[in-house]
């Protein structure tokens, strides 16, 4: 009994609790990323992984004596900024893809011989303001 309590108390110390929880979050996110197909869920999963990384970073900063390491805090902040912008970009892409295909999932596999290839360098591409091949999509950023 006593041993378990001690272990628990030891585990709950921020220096170990945060990294452990962070690692669990990281693993959970990875699982979600692999298992889910809806792209928004996948992006969420990536964010969960990211949170895991930041938790580990914060826990690492709190370990040891004295006040937490300011460098780690700064790194976390920077990391969050990067993660937010990457997420925003990913969501924008997913929105665009959903508009084009009607589904928020990726097209299957590598492009095979039947998929029409979009070539932006060809004049015909913009002859009437739309792509050369009507089947390849209509919504273009402009």
């Amino acid at each position: 009994m006593n041993g378990l309590a001690e272990t628990l108390a030891h585990t709950l110390a921020p220096g170990l609790l945060y990294p452990t929880a962070g690692a669990i979050l990281f693993a959970l996110g990875l699982y979600g990323l692999i298992r889910r197909h809806h792209l928004v869920l996948r992006i969420l999963a990536l964010n969960i992984m990211g949170s895991g990384v930041f938790m580990v970073l914060l826990g690492v900063a709190a370990r040891g004596e004295g006040p937490p390491d300011p460098v780690a805090q700064a790194l976390t902040l920077t990391g969050i900024v990067v993660a937010v912008s990457a997420t925003a970009f990913a969501l924008a892409l997913v929105v665009h893809l959903t508009r084009l295909t009607g589904h928020a999932v990726m097209l299957p596999g590598p492009p095979d011989d039947d998929v029409p290839v979009e070539d932006i360098s060809r004049e015909t591409h913009h002859a009437d303001g739309s792509p050369a091949d009507p089947s390849s999509g209509e919504d273009r950023p402009s």
Partner: protein, 494 residues
């Protein structure tokens, strides 16, 4: 002269970062003029890099004298950010400048729509700036940031044609990249937690073969392998590289992938060097052999020109993995590996540019229906063939010299008594044969009897730049000694 050059170096390094960022920012702020800014910027950055390399080489031949660390804003590590230039980064900067300039010139012809120009050029300039910073970063966290700059602009470049296939490919590419970056970051965090520093040189001095280092090594290497599309984490590459616009494919396959590989190499030569065991080396080498075979077979099966080229990247990167066990036996072999990567990047970029020209002319890149255009465009096919010869590793190209040195390292391990070395030698020699087979698939229709149809007119840039770059890739054979000598100016490396 020598002290003067060495004194100029720090300023020149910081100047390169500032210049490439300034060009990118200017183009973003002024999208209407982006292509003009881009062209001038490309020329300026290339000139700057070449000047820097002259300074760098003049400051040699002592690696400690030539390699330079610059503390940004006067803040030294561990607190401040360090820029770090040595033989390895110098070589890759020059490579980036050459491929970058060629891609920029090619894009003048390829991206001609006003709106697309505004989207393409800023993104591409950010990518270039990101690569330059990546090669100059000497700090693990900063590497993460630059990796993200490179990845995000690369993803945007894949997506910017806006078709469903392109956007889907971009989303896949993005997910893979974020996953890779996060894995890398987790490793950085672990290292930071253990040692309290981020600067690579300081880290290297403190690391030993402990459990934290092992975990960090696994996470960072896996993340970077994912980004570098190293077997078996390569599945995303062909859809992304194969469906992107030609200049983007060229940069992705030529530079971005090489950038991730550069990081792997740098980490394993420095921070993780104590972790490399022979058994691990054999495992990596096996992966390389599998990549060679699998990538080549896919390239032999693929029906589209650009898919073939994309799969060939998977195959060619197998050589880099095969070289890993060789480096354990002969540590000096890392320079050969870098030279191989450089030559591959040049050749692969020219093949993609040539493929883009053919695709533009024909309106598609289905190999089965491409014969008419191939026959009518001997210049482009010649570029394709010339760069292809370099990929095969046949003379007189850079690929040959690289293959020679790789084979020499492989035979060296065999002579040193390693039985498994025979497998590496067979892989290195036999891979060229597979490459010949899939390159022949692309070139052979030119020689069939049949109609000629030049297809859509092609701008002179698109006509000549692939040939020019392929010629550079071929002549890179003459720069073998120079490259190896430059690489020797890397302090701490064997």
């Amino acid at each position: 002269m020598i002290p003067a050059d060495a004194e100029l170096l720090p300023g020149a390094i910081a100047g390169l970062v500032a210049l490439s960022l300034a060009v990118a920012i200017l183009a973003t702020a002024w999208p209407r003029q982006a292509h003009r800014i881009g062209l001038l910027g490309a020329l300026a950055v290339t000139a700057w890099v070449l000047g820097l390399s002259a300074l760098f080489l003049n400051a040699g031949p002592d690696p400690e004298a030539a390699a330079t660390r610059v503390a940004l804003g006067g803040w030294e590590a561990p607190l401040g950010l360090m820029l770090h230039l040595d033989g390895l980064s110098m070589t890759l900067l020059v490579l980036t400048a050459v491929v970058g300039l060629a891609t920029s010139l090619y894009s003048l012809g390829y991206v001609h729509d006003r709106i697309e120009r505004r989207q393409f050029w800023p993104l591409w300039l950010w990518l270039w700036a990101g690569l330059n910073m990546l090669f100059l970063s000497g700090d693990a966290f900063n590497l993460y940031i630059t990796l993200e700059v490179v990845s995000l602009s690369a993803v945007a470049l894949v997506a910017f044609t806006g078709t469903a296939a392109a956007v889907s490919g971009a989303v896949r590419y993005l997910l893979v990249n974020i996953l890779g970056s996060l894995s890398f970051l987790m490793g950085v965090v672990l290292l930071f937690g253990e040692h309290g520093v981020l600067d690579l040189v300081l880290l290297e001095a403190r690391t030993e073969a402990g459990p934290t280092e092992r975990m960090a090594a696994v996470l960072m290497t896996a993340g970077l392998m994912l980004k570098a599309a190293l077997f078996p984490l390569h599945v995303w590459l062909a859809p992304a590289h194969g469906s992107a616009p030609a200049p983007v494919s060229a940069v992705l396959s030529g530079l971005v992938v090489t950038g991730s590989f550069y990081l792997i190499l740098r980490l394993w030569m420095g921070v993780f060097a104590p972790l490399a065991t022979p058994a691990f080396g054999i495992l990596v080498g096996m992966l390389g052999v599998a990549a060679l075979v699998w990538g080549s077979l896919q390239a032999l099966r693929a029906g589209r020109l650009k898919s073939i080229v994309a799969y060939s990247t998977v195959a060619q990167f197998g050589y880099l993995l095969v070289a890993f066990p060789l480096m354990l036996v002969d540590p000096g072999a890392w320079r050969v590996v870098v030279f191989f990567a450089v030559v591959h990047a040049l050749a692969k970029a020219s093949v993609f540019l040539a493929a883009g020209t053919l695709q533009h002319a024909a309106g598609h890149d289905r190999l089965a229906d491409l014969g008419d255009v191939l026959r009518a465009r001997p210049r482009t096919v010649f570029a394709l063939g010339l760069a292809g010869v370099s990929l095969m590793g046949l003379p007189f190209t850079g690929g040959f010299i690289a293959k020679y040195l790789l084979l020499e390292a492989g035979l060296g391990t065999v002579l040193a008594g390693s039985v498994i070395g025979v497998l590496w030698v067979l892989a290195i020699a036999g891979g060229g044969l597979l490459a010949a087979a899939y390159i022949l698939r692309m070139v052979a229709p030119t020689f069939h009897r049949g109609r000629e149809d030049a297809g859509e007119t092609v701008s002179p840039w698109m006509d000549w730049v692939p040939l020019g770059l392929a010629t550079i890739a071929a002549l890179a054979g003459l720069a073998g000694t120079l490259t190896l000598n430059t690489l020797a100016l890397t302090p701490g490396a064997p």
